[in-house]
Symmetry: C2
Subunit: 344 residues, 2 copies
DNA sequence: TAATTTTACGCAAACGCTTGACTTATTATT
DNA sequence: AATAATAAGTCAAGCGTTTGCGTAAAATTA
């Protein structure tokens, strides 16, 4: 068993040429003659030579690694996104250093430190639910490590991001319900401060107004996404003066809890009350009463697009080290889309 | 904006001392005087010095990175496992390079190449469904990159692995059903060649025999996990001469399909027919008819344990570079466990 | 006070590779 | 035939750290 791996030095010695010649030969440099070039390449193959990437990383000041920090891989949204990220990264020769924040700000900060230490070339981040201070991101500027945020993006100027616009999908969802004859449509939304919550509300209002229906604020309730608060909201909606015949829920988990509550109240799902949700569970159609339709937010594509954007940024950085790149920011918005489930 | 990050050379120059002194001072080396030590450390802090890890990686021939190759993060089992991996890795100062094979052998090989190029210190692998040639793993021996397999392990000798023994949990599952009064118990198992399938079968047989019930091979059917084959198996079981009153299914997906089929046949779930499954969906209790109980396989713990094992291997490697380490292999088996669901 | 130990630090090599600058043959140009 | 241009290499610096070894100066011992 060989103890030490072959290096270009080794090859150079065996062929009695200089290491720079070997290096250039392996890179097909024009100033090396065909003869020696093939000699080198053959010996390299024979010795199963492989360049020591750590040396190259070091020498080039690049690691061809991109760090990914996201809240929770067990959320289907993110496990889908990471596939998009991986695929796009590998396509350009990058690899993915992973870290989950589990929605903890401390963990997030810690991960950034680690990524910084490992000298990732760039960072892809979906921020934790509880992040409202952004210094730890800004600190990376100093290291010239670009960040592209995706899905959950901080509310600060001058950042690159990729996100999915929920307004459009929400409008489609409401229109779908209107077309089905529903006139009183409720919404169980998320935490008030979340941008995602606001977008859903905006879509709701927009759709109502365009259809010349008045917007009844009493029909839109916020929740903190816990089972209790969702059940409470559901109950409140279903016992109000204006009882909705359809409810749009913040996501599939909310939908499931709301369904449960409605059933507890002896309502027939899809008859007395219909649900439309935002897709995050691929198997939601296996659940007892799947939503009639869901708004799809294309996690795979978001991840992919974010990665492509980051890599683009990285290329530019190496090409032109000027300041101009710092002045323009990518803001990429994908459109969400309503998907109507089978048998509806 | 600083263009170049501070190095120890920089510090050395400013303090007019040698770089080796700086290096040692920062490492609290005993042969550096307290006076200079603090001077160095203070300047380092002031300049926000951070060691260039790529240089260190290179110099030490270690990257403090472990590669993880697994089939599919969108499977709850693996997204759980990766959390265990991450936590254990971070605890020891390692980071995680991620790659999904999506159950493709080619992708798996490719990932191994990438990981090798990136000079990961060690590898954690759960093999793809279709892998039946193991050369690409063996090739890593040459690079002295240890592998610990987890959950899905290749059938070759002389490997380290962590897996979960399903036999015990299966025995518990059967016993649970027996205690509930069931006497005819069916099983919808997985593909025949899978070790996971064999273990389930073994558990089934063991439990039956221990209870002095005869093992009826007609009650155990294999499936290839597709919806069609599961439905067919379910139908066959429920129309056979000996109709089971309970069925153990290979996993939660199988359970859902089987339930659907049973309902199609006008059977009342939990009355005419009961189901017990192997846990892989955290939200399975949200489904229409969740299984009465599931066999838990502790993905988080498996990931954690596998990582700890790998790191242990890595420590040994640096400590004693002898051959002895190559002669003993870790084979760690966790026990599965039956979890009885609420309201049963 | 001389000899010896200890303390505190500097020198320089090494890790493997890339690359700008320089050198020496060889071939082409006038 | 002298000069210029090209081809094919070589040299050596440099990337940032770590570390074995050497060595003054200071402290201890005899």
């Amino acid at each position: 068993m060989k103890k030490t791996l072959p290096t270009i030095k080794e090859i150079a010695k065996q062929l009695n040429i200089s290491i720079s010649t070997v290096s250039r030969a392996l890179h097909d440099h024009p100033s090396i003659g065909l003869r020696t070039k093939t000699r080198v390449q053959e010996l390299a193959k024979q010795l199963q030579y492989e360049p020591n990437q750590t040396a190259i990383f070091f020498q080039q000041g690049k690691t061809f690694t991109i760090g990914v920090i996201l809240p929770e891989l067990s959320e289907a949204f993110f496990s889908s996104a990471i596939s998009g990220i991986e695929d796009a990264a590998h396509k350009s020769g990058y690899t993915v250093l992973l870290g989950q924040s589990h929605d903890s700000v401390d963990k997030e900060k810690q991960l950034i430190e680690t990524m910084k230490k490992h000298r990732v070339d760039g960072l892809l981040i979906s921020i934790s639910k509880n992040t409202n201070n952004y210094e730890h991101f800004e600190a990376l500027q100093r290291y010239n490590i670009p960040i592209v945020f995706f899905d959950r993006i901080p509310k600060i100027p001058n950042i690159h991001y990729v996100a999915c616009n929920m307004i459009n999908g929400t409008v489609q969802a409401i229109n779908f319900l209107l077309k089905k004859g529903h006139r009183i449509i409720g919404m169980i939304n998320g935490p008030e401060k979340l941008p995602a919550t606001k977008e859903r509300l905006d879509g709701y209002i927009q759709a109502m107004i365009k259809s010349r229906l008045k917007y009844d604020a009493g029909l839109v309730l916020n929740s903190d996404l816990t089972k209790e608060s969702v059940c409470a909201a559901t109950e409140k909606l279903l016992t109000g003066k204006r009882k909705p015949t359809a409810i749009v829920t913040f996501n599939d988990y909310v939908a499931m809890d709301a369904v449960q509550q409605a059933r507890k109240m002896k309502l027939k799902i899809n008859k007395d009350i219909c649900f439309v949700s935002y897709a995050n569970l691929p198997i939601s159609h296996y659940t007892a009463y799947p939503p009639m339709a869901s708004v799809e937010q294309f996690p795979y594509q978001q991840g992919q697009k974010a990665t492509e954007t980051l890599i683009d940024l990285l290329q530019r950085k190496t090409n032109a080290d000027n300041e101009a790149i710092n002045t323009t920011y990518y803001k990429i918005i994908l459109e969400s889309q309503l998907v109507i489930h089978e048998g509806v």
